[in-house]
Symmetry: C2
Subunit: 208 residues, 2 copies
Amino acid sequence: MATGKNGETAINMPETKASVKGTAPLLNSSKAVSTVEHPNRGVKKGFAIGDFVLRLCALGAALGATVAMGNADQVLPFFTQFLQFEAQYDDFDTFRFFVMAMGMVSGYLFISLPFSIICIIRPFATKPRLFLVIFDSMMAALTIAAGSASASMVYLAHNGNDDVNWLPFCQQFGDFCQSASGAVIGSLLAAALLLVIIILSAFALKRN
Amino acid sequence: MATGKNGETAINMPETKASVKGTAPLLNSSKAVSTVEHPNRGVKKGFAIGDFVLRLCALGAALGATVAMGNADQVLPFFTQFLQFEAQYDDFDTFRFFVMAMGMVSGYLFISLPFSIICIIRPFATKPRLFLVIFDSMMAALTIAAGSASASMVYLAHNGNDDVNWLPFCQQFGDFCQSASGAVIGSLLAAALLLVIIILSAFALKRN
């Protein structure tokens, strides 16, 4: 090619022109896109940072709820020959489900932190954000399910139900009930934070 | 204008040219956008139609759950001098909350149908879709809360809890328990559909 005849150079000329024509609009368009979307980049980055902070808060709330419920245990200071009065979280299937579910949610929130950081570094990446939205929705559902099922159980422990002769036991096991109530509040807080995170992600995914 | 002089016609000429120039690029650009985004338009429309269909299914499930729980009522065929044995949904605060919550969710799903239709007609509109995502998330949370709280109560009605002497009553009130269980299943179905709707919306909101 370099040592070609006149005819070959004449053929080469349009080739180089074509390649210049091919790259020039590509460069122009990408530059145009980056300058047009620059103000939105800050907004998206803000959404991503908010997502990360809220995720940390939700992790704290979920971990706190798990630990509070897992340690809910009270032994009354009196006992008979055959019976020791003790209340533990795993006397209640609902509370056992609560501990498992909130443990899972805490684990997921911890694992999701790197993905949230990726969203901060690359505010326009949609793949990690979609991944987060899908799993966030599932975990929010799990959190709300565990929290509200345990809430109804705690309500019953406080107030009982006269119609079916289920007696309240929070007068006797006050500390146990308090731990359980605290755990429920923590889980509902985590659930609310997860909902806010989902809505934030929807805004961040929105086309401009 | 029609009976103008030569000078006026000369002035009119550039005016009409300018208006042609003003409309031509608009038409061109809109045509270019529609031809470039045409394949995505079909996908978005598919998301929107799926959203509408799933919303109808969720409405059916939510309404069915509300009605099933609201009509859960059983009178036993024997009574004493002082007592008539009757189980009704509003003997349980959790079930009462369930009926209220599912009624609200059914109402919301009905109201949201027109917005879903707007999303079908204008697949690229983000405002109605964001509105739907936010309220869908809240209603999904409400549905899951009501469903799982009632599920824990139904579980207790079936199995009781020996540790705190809460006796099961589903042997006696079988029909009542069956209605309540059906209602819980309906609500959890509605919740699952709402979660799928939220995830679909996230995909539809995604930039291309």
